[in-house]
């Protein structure tokens, strides 16, 4: 029977939740890396036992962790416990957390500053890894979306990282500015049918696409309208919260923007709003059903000033029509006095039949639906604030 493994990143550690295909009884493992912030964990599609985790701390900075046994044991890539640094006789160890922005004149225009909150130019400074996206085909290749916004790639299992600097260097970089959560590259989507195509999104710069494996990039923000931007045709500056795609239809994208739920049918070339009858179109998380590419999920949040569900009712909204027509999913979810948030990377789907849908809250609950959202039950109720949820469907 198939199994599912849910990888949960929280403010105070990581948790691994496992169940069989019925998704009724769960084993909870953790906290892993207790006391650290785990922004994101994700497994390799090419080797499900290969997991990557972004571990960080305001005191000690960034750590990258890797598991080769499905989360039972972890090491910092290239740095086994007890093994000293081989410098200068061999390659340096301890560089799995070294993210250095590319300022080489050979790889494009060196970029040194972006726009800061006060409108002045500010140096790019690495703070943390928000999102790790393993390659669809190679377990040793993994992408990292970081704050301050940039895209890095490792081809050696996370031991070392190189920036794909064409993104920051494509021209608009000096105009990017941070959102309230920082200037983070939080979304990375790899196109399964076009290996050179990658989508990324940055708060608050917008969405971008490469068609040549990261060498050159262009903004894909036409059709987005943000009330705080005076120019209605602004190429960048949009606060994209998350983007989702069904792998069977990689040219169709769904976006939860700061306000507005959007869709593109042409790989981001043009977006149209599909908020429809949502009670509020502010939110962070969005995902697509594993088998029905027109079925999408969002968790409406009251407003940018009040990051909790409307009326204290935690409701997932599902559209089976690719947007515009939405239904509230409430069975099993608290319908009074609920004031949690669901963050952008904290929703995921499995690929079982029926499709499972999962999300975590800032109140520490992880909810699961084994029937595509019709009903929900908490897997765990009292974790630290949940930052990310990913799901692996295992044989």
């Amino acid at each position: 029977m198939s199994k599912v493994r849910v990888l949960v990143g929280t403010r105070k550690g990581a948790f691994v939740l496992t169940s069989d295909g019925k998704r009724e009884k769960w084993d909870v493992s953790g906290p892993h890396f207790a006391g650290w912030e785990l922004y994101h964990l994700k497994g390799s599609p090419a080797d499900p036992n290969r997991l990557y985790a972004s571990q960080c701390s305001g005191w000690f900075g960034q750590i990258i962790q890797r598991s080769d046994d499905g989360g039972k044991t972890w090491t910092q890539p290239g740095t086994p416990p007890g093994e000293k640094n081989a410098m200068p006789a061999g390659p340096p160890k301890g560089e799995s957390n070294k993210f250095v922005y590319d300022t080489s004149s050979e790889t494009g225009k060196p970029l040194t500053t972006h726009q800061f909150y006060d409108g002045t130019q500010h140096p790019w400074e690495f703070k943390r890894v928000w999102h790790l996206e393993p390659s669809l085909t190679d377990p040793d290749t993994v992408y990292a979306g970081v704050e301050d916004a940039a895209l890095f790639r490792s081809k050696d299992g996370g031991k070392s990282w190189q920036e794909l600097s064409g993104l920051r260097g494509h021209g608009t970089g000096p105009k990017w500015q941070p959102g309230a959560g920082g200037m983070c590259l939080h979304t990375i989507i790899l196109d399964p049918k076009n290996p050179g195509r990658i989508y990324i999104a940055i708060s608050a710069a917008g969405a971008f696409r490469t068609d040549d494996d990261g060498k050159t990039w262009r903004p894909i923000n036409k059709g987005l309208h943000s009330q705080y931007i005076p120019d209605p045709t602004a190429e960048i500056g949009h606060c994209v919260h998350h983007v989702a795609m069904n792998p069977s239809r990689p040219g169709v994208l769904f976006m939860q923007k700061h306000w507005d739920v959007m869709r593109s049918d042409n790989a981001g070339d043009l977006w149209k709003e599909v908020s429809g009858n949502l009670p509020t179109d502010f939110g962070f998380a969005i995902d697509v059903h594993a088998h029905e590419p027109e079925t999408i999920y969002v968790v409406p949040i009251k407003s940018d000033g009040e990051h909790f569900p409307l009326d204290g009712k935690l409701r997932v909204y599902r559209s089976r029509t690719g947007g515009n027509e939405w239904e509230a999913l409430t069975k099993g979810l608290p319908q009074r006095d609920c004031y949690v948030n669901v963050l952008r990377d904290a929703m995921a789907v499995d690929s079982l039949d029926k499709c499972g849908v999962y999300f975590g809250t800032t109140g520490g609950q992880v909810y699961a639906s084994a029937d595509a959202g019709d009903s929900w039950a908490p897997i765990v109720r009292d974790l630290p604030a949940v930052l990310s949820v990913e799901v692996q469907t295992l044989p």
Partner: protein, 98 residues
């Protein structure tokens, strides 16, 4: 033999249960101690000092013999009690947040 006491989170990363002991070649300074620490425990690189600038991370502090050495120059000699191993060098996570 220099004794170094790490904060608990870094002990976890380094897989050590208590203080660590380091042999230092040449003068014992913050820099030479941290260099030796990172050679022996490469997983700590970047966690105490920035990878590139080698600056102490802002929320960390160095204490020894009841004194805050955090703002001493990296190449300043450490107190003799540290050099002799009578006292440990403490690396602390500063109180921050609420």
């Amino acid at each position: 033999m220099i004794r170094v006491i790490l904060p608990p989170h870094l002990r976890g990363l380094a897989h050590v249960a208590s203080e660590v002991e380091l042999d230092i070649q040449g003068p014992a300074t913050q820099r030479s101690v941290l260099d030796a620490l990172e050679v022996r425990y490469p997983m700590l690189r970047g966690t105490i000092r920035d990878h590139i600038t080698q600056q102490r991370r802002p929320f960390l502090r160095f204490f020894a013999c009841g004194e805050d050495l955090s703002h001493e120059l990296p190449d300043a000699p450490l107190p003799s009690a540290i050099v002799s191993g009578a006292e440990p060098l403490l690396i602390l996570g500063a109180i921050a947040g609420g």
